[in-house]
Symmetry: C2
């Protein structure tokens, strides 16, 4: 068995897909995704761990203590946003690999086997930047999304998930390990821990989120020769839609609702043509479902008004609705105990962002932890977490993992499926 | 020498790159562009005309009456917008080919040679939908744009003009014919001729036009986890810029200024990421240069305000400024005489759209004619001109061409270079 300290591994992985400005670009199913997966496999194989790949590209490293027993899964995702940060997802997988190695050593030293087996996982396409929806691999694992439907999803260039996975050699056929529990550690992507000077968060719930798919259909015409009053400009109308998605947040208490348009496709997108079609995706999130639902209804009404006033057609569809989800109280308490043992501060918190743990929480008892993010920034190259905070997180993950392998969360019911 | 009637040729060419909704898609340097050029060459070669291709992909069919004499050029462009119309450009080339055939027959029947030779031309990349700027081939011919610089221009996928032309076999090396005059006929792309029931327009001038290149730089972040007040959303700010480009037209007399944003590039354009960068192109046109300049100044000021209020950087650059350009009065009068001979109505008019004739007018005496467009729509699949109007246009073009070959516009000064 090889042993490497966490920061040595970290410095290797942050080179894969590194960008000039200090981020990484490892979008799902790309060459950089393949390279980081090869790194993960080599790490596992050097330690004698088996690796398997399931039918949606989830990659597992398996440590078997009790042949035939189910597994405690630990991990996150190694894919990134375009010009994303080094920490989002990657930290959780790397912490998982190193915590697993230490926990294996711990049980070997004790000469005992824990109740469950252990699997470290790199979930496929958590980011959803190239292929929508996000949290794809873990959602298929959890039975929340249909595998064949996800394999048929395409990126903006028309490449399917199936083809992308085949092209990097990661469309597997292995049966994934059965989960007796799941634990994930992630950067906060917010400022609460940093502001309060607390190194660890125990996530007790997630915000209610939904997306709106908006299609605006006008008429293509000449930017020079068409009278202004004859234009049915899809991009002009879309600009009001984008503004509405942003400014509707002002109608609710400050920061109780966040909303943005992230993706937009414009056709024909030629400098001297009035655009005929815009397709965009808006993203609404609040802790209170009533706020998201009220904002959604008002945006739908606003789109109807804009369709009328701009003489265009606007089609709005709900998708990717994710209710509030509560992580088990027993898991939150477990994180508290581990923090006490380590002598570190801790606080409860919510997650506004989606994570693989949200899908896994519907399958098995799930624990979700956060470590601080400098300035709270994420999905960007200047994402940063301090080395000390990363190391503290690995310690905490090790403690939680060892207790979960011993069955401390047995009997806890998973959350309802959404 | 073969002979084909105009509508037979027309029905062949409108099949090349035909779209389901009745338009064509033959963007510059694509396979469809290659096919339509092959059609042009075959038409010329069946009539014993030489064809040549210059260093920016302009395609010429040469009819030599007087070896060594300069040429009267007639033509337009066979490339189209994405999902464009069948008539824009293609009509002028097809009318040129058929008028040239008839004029050649006319001089053969008379047993005399005219003063000049005759060349039909398909200018490369008039549309500019794939490669900016538009009017590329004729602008290089006219010395208004540098050939090497244009060959280095790229499309949104990073393909250069040079590579696109090479890949379709149309990066030529022939010396282009020297122009003693140029004549072009085009669909109006407006409603004036249709509304007044007049079959022919003599264009006396073009509108003042300019484009503005706008780059908006914010900061990439997470759509879920970033506080609204921390976002520096480039797409949200860009929406106000797009609206400003449109609504500034309301500050001037109705339809005295037209303005739109046609092209927009968004980065990273991922559903759950606040966008860091938007690059867009706005297009301003008016007959009165003072209106364009005033609107341009106010848009620059508005962008500065938006940069401040949205905490983003906005960089605005002028490009593709085209002054009012006046076609020679002698040419307008010539079209009037031809119309009288044919017994058809005619009116003077302006062009709001750019055309190859605007570049050619700086090189040699240039005549520009319009035929009606149903509903005035253009750069779209439902672009339509009636068969009778197309045939009348060929007759008019034949009359103008025959007289120009005999030197009727000799001594007319070209317009100043811009």
């Amino acid at each position: 068995m090889a042993s490497t300290d966490f920061m040595t591994s970290w410095r290797e992985v942050e080179q894969i897909g590194a960008t000039e400005a200090g981020g990484v670009e490892r979008q799902a199913g790309t060459e950089e995704d393949r390279q980081v997966r090869e790194w993960f496999r080599a790490f596992a194989e050097r330690r004698g761990w088996r690796t398997t790949v399931d039918g949606i590209g989830n990659l597992f490293a398996l440590i078997d203590f009790n042949p035939g027993a189910p597994y405690i899964l630990v991990g996150s995702h190694l894919d990134s946003q375009p010009r994303g940060g080094r920490f989002d997802g990657a930290y959780g997988v790397m912490a998982g690999l190193h915590a697993a190695e230490r926990v294996q050593q711990h049980f070997t030293d004790l000469g005992v086997s824990p109740r469950y087996n252990l699997a470290v996982v790199d979930w496929f396409n958590e980011e959803g930047g190239r292929f929508a929806p996000s949290i794809m691999g873990s959602s298929v694992y959890a039975g929340l999304k249909d595998r064949d439907e996800m394999l048929d999803r395409t990126d903006l260039a028309g490449v399917t998930v199936r083809n992308a996975l085949e092209s990097i050699g990661y469309l597997g056929g292995d049966e994934p390990p059965t989960a007796a529990g799941y634990v994930e550690i992630h950067i906060e992507q917010g400022r609460i821990l940093e502001r309060e000077g607390i190194p660890l968060g125990a996530v007790d719930s997630s915000w209610y989120t939904q997306k709106l798919d908006v299609e605006i259909l006008g008429e293509q015409s000449h930017t020079g020769a068409t009278l202004m009053e004859d234009r049915r400009d899809a991009l002009y109308a879309a600009s009001y839609v984008i503004i509405a998605f942003n400014e509707i947040t002002r109608d609710y208490p400050p920061e109780s609702l966040v909303s943005s348009v992230g993706q937009i496709v414009v056709e024909p997108n030629s400098p001297i043509v009035v655009n005929r079609r815009v397709h965009l995706v808006g993203d609404l999130r609040a802790n209170d479902p009533a706020i998201v639902q009220d904002a959604r209804n008002r945006l739908v009404a606003r789109c109807a008004e804009l369709a009328e006033s701009h003489d265009v057609q606007i089609i709005v569809q709900d998708f990717d609705i994710r209710p509030n989800l509560y992580f088990p109280e027993e898991g939150v308490e477990l994180v508290g105990k581990v923090a006490t043992d380590l002598g570190i501060g801790i606080r409860r918190m919510q997650t506004m962002a989606g994570h693989d743990s949200i899908a896994m929480n519907t399958v098995a008892p799930t624990v979700m932890m956060f470590i601080p993010s400098i300035d709270g920034v994420s999905h960007c190259e200047r994402e940063l977490t301090l080395e000390q905070d990363m190391l503290t997180g690995v310690d905490a993950l090790q403690g939680v993992l060892a207790r979960m392998l011993d069955g401390v969360l047995d009997g806890v019911e998973p959350a309802p499926r959404y």
